[in-house]
């Protein structure tokens, strides 16, 4: 019993450390990728090739003044960034990032924090809670830019979460489980087992919805700089601002991890002969290629107009994802009987 608790604490600490470091260095990676795509070098001053830039940014953000507007609803204003960040971090609890359990001493640690049988629903629920952080923060700021950004964000997250949820159903039918560990296991043994091929439409819909849900370009209307200053976190500064920032990047990693698990076979190697590479490496490789794709999209596409965003979500992606669910269900039923 004590050993189990100890093992859980070790994994929690490890996952938290890795996730927070990844989030910090994701900002560096994003700046570098964007810079190279725009024919410049990006951060170069702090440390070799600017490698210590996230550290300097962190120190700067922590030591900045924490401004709370006079007219703001102080309690909600203070708690909103936390509501935004905590669900994003909590989502990592169910993501399986490797195959093997580790033993040292009498302690056994699994490559995931917990394998609950409704893992996928858990992640969807948490990502919905994250939207409350944005909404409440925008509302509590008592500023027109914040409230506009928050409203846009709410509308966007609701419409695109629907698509993401519907696109996932196809995978759940194929995998026959809501547990991410089970879905991963069902896809092992080479890339032809991955669900990206039978579920290519769902994959594209999920990816687009994922970009929209994390409020990134070309769906960054909630924080459209040219129209809304900074959207829902216009009034935030210092550490609270950085909590929103962390939440955005943590959400990006969650979306990438879920896409990896559902469509690319998680830790599985693409070819059986490549099995000697540790599963964790495969997992990270796939997650980072998704993250790179997010940066790449950001460097390429301009922001959508609001009506285009809604039209695309409700009139194109939603019918497509419904059709995908129906066809998948029909085909799976025919094969099994």
């Amino acid at each position: 019993m004590l050993n189990d608790i100890l093992a859980a604490v070790v994994v929690i600490a490890g996952v938290l450390f890795v996730v927070l470091t990844m989030v910090a260095y994701l900002t560096y990676l994003e700046r570098k990728v964007l810079s190279f795509m725009q024919d410049r070098l990006g951060p170069m001053e702090v440390g070799p090739w600017g490698l210590l830039q996230p550290l300097a940014d962190g120190i700067k953000l922590v030591s900045k003044e924490d401004i709370i507007p006079q007219e703001a609803n102080k309690a909600i204003f203070k708690i909103a960034p936390i509501i935004s960040l905590v669900p994003a971090i909590l989502s990592f609890a169910v993501i399986p990032f490797g195959r093997d359990s580790f033993h040292f001493g009498g302690i056994t640690t699994h490559p995931y924090l917990t394998d609950i049988n409704i893992g996928m629903i858990y992640i969807l629920a948490l990502s919905s809670i994250g939207a409350y952080g944005i909404l409440l923060g925008g509302w509590a700021s008592n500023s027109k830019y914040s409230i506009l950004g928050a409203l846009r964000s709410a509308a966007q997250v609701i419409s695109y979460e629907l698509n993401a949820g519907m696109s996932i159903i196809g995978v759940l039918i194929l995998g026959g489980s809501l547990s991410l560990v089970q879905i991963e296991k069902a896809q092992q043994g080479g890339f032809w087992h991955w669900y990206i091929f039978p579920q290519i439409i769902a994959f594209v819909i999920y990816l687009i919805s994922g970009i929209a849900e994390t409020n990134r370009t070309p769906f960054d209307l909630p924080e459209a700089e040219s129209e809304l200053v900074a959207g829902f976190f216009t009034e935030y500064s210092g550490m609270r601002f950085s909590l929103y920032y962390l939440a955005e990047y943590a959400n990006m990693i969650v979306v990438s991890c879920v896409a990896t698990v559902l469509f690319l076979g998680g830790w599985g190697s693409p070819l059986p002969m490549l099995d000697f590479v540790p599963p964790v490496i495969w997992f990270m490789l796939k997650v980072y290629s998704f993250l790179f794709f997010f940066f790449w999209i950001r460097a390429t596409l301009p922001r959508l107009r609001y009506d285009q965003l809604m039209k695309f979500g409700w009139k194109v992606m939603l019918p497509l994802s419904f059709a995908n669910v129906i066809v998948t269900a029909f085909v799976v039923y025919m094969i099994r009987h």
């Binding site: 990728v33 410049r40 596409l301």
Partner: protein, 186 residues
């Protein structure tokens, strides 16, 4: 909608071509400079800070003729000319003030100067926290001129004003012989 256009739409054809372009640019050389470490090689004729020049014998060239003040479109220059204290047949600038907060770096004053006392240099990094810090006196201009003598000669050569002075031919340009070295102190 033709079949080709339909395929192009469902395959995100236009977005793909955009992605291809940005990906190609990842491997191109950066066009930016890491400024304090790398600096641009400035071309001859670059119009940077204006300086005052001296003759080879350390005498200042300026004769206080006011032509630069007259031509300056930004009214950045003010000259107070006076009779030279030691050579009563010569004039010099008792006070010479160049206000770089007003200067537009057009180079007219350099062209107007009959004795090549002014030149432009490749200096540009002379910012200041106060406005007064950018109003240069004659001494400051001369010191800067000593520091950037090569630049100023290059500028004058580029503007064909160097040869005119040194060829002996006086094509629209007065040739003032330098004031002989003054006895100690000057």
């Amino acid at each position: 909608m033709g079949i080709k256009k339909f395929l192009n739409t469902i395959m995100f054809g236009e977005i793909m071509s955009g992605l291809k372009l940005t990906f190609r640019h990842m491997f191109k050389k950066a066009v930016t400079l890491q400024y304090p470490h790398e600096k641009l090689t400035l071309p001859a004729g670059y119009r940077g800070f204006i300086v005052q020049r001296r003759y080879e014998n350390e005498q200042e060239r300026c004769v206080g003729c006011d032509l630069c003040e007259a031509i300056c479109p930004a009214k950045a220059i003010s000259v107070v000319g006076d009779i030279h204290p030691e050579f009563p047949d010569r004039r010099y600038a008792k006070e010479y003030t160049l206000d770089f907060t007003r200067c537009i770096f057009c180079g007219f004053c350099v062209v107007a100067c009959p004795v090549n006392a002014l030149a432009m240099t490749k200096e540009y990094a002379h910012s200041s926290f106060t406005r007064e810090g950018l109003i240069y006196s004659k001494e400051q201009l001369l010191t800067l001129g000593d520091k950037c003598e090569e630049d100023s000669i290059e500028y004058l050569k580029f503007k064909n004003m160097w040869d005119a002075e040194n060829s002996g031919k006086e094509e629209g340009r007065y040739h003032f012989p330098p004031i002989p070295s003054v006895k100690s102190g000057g």
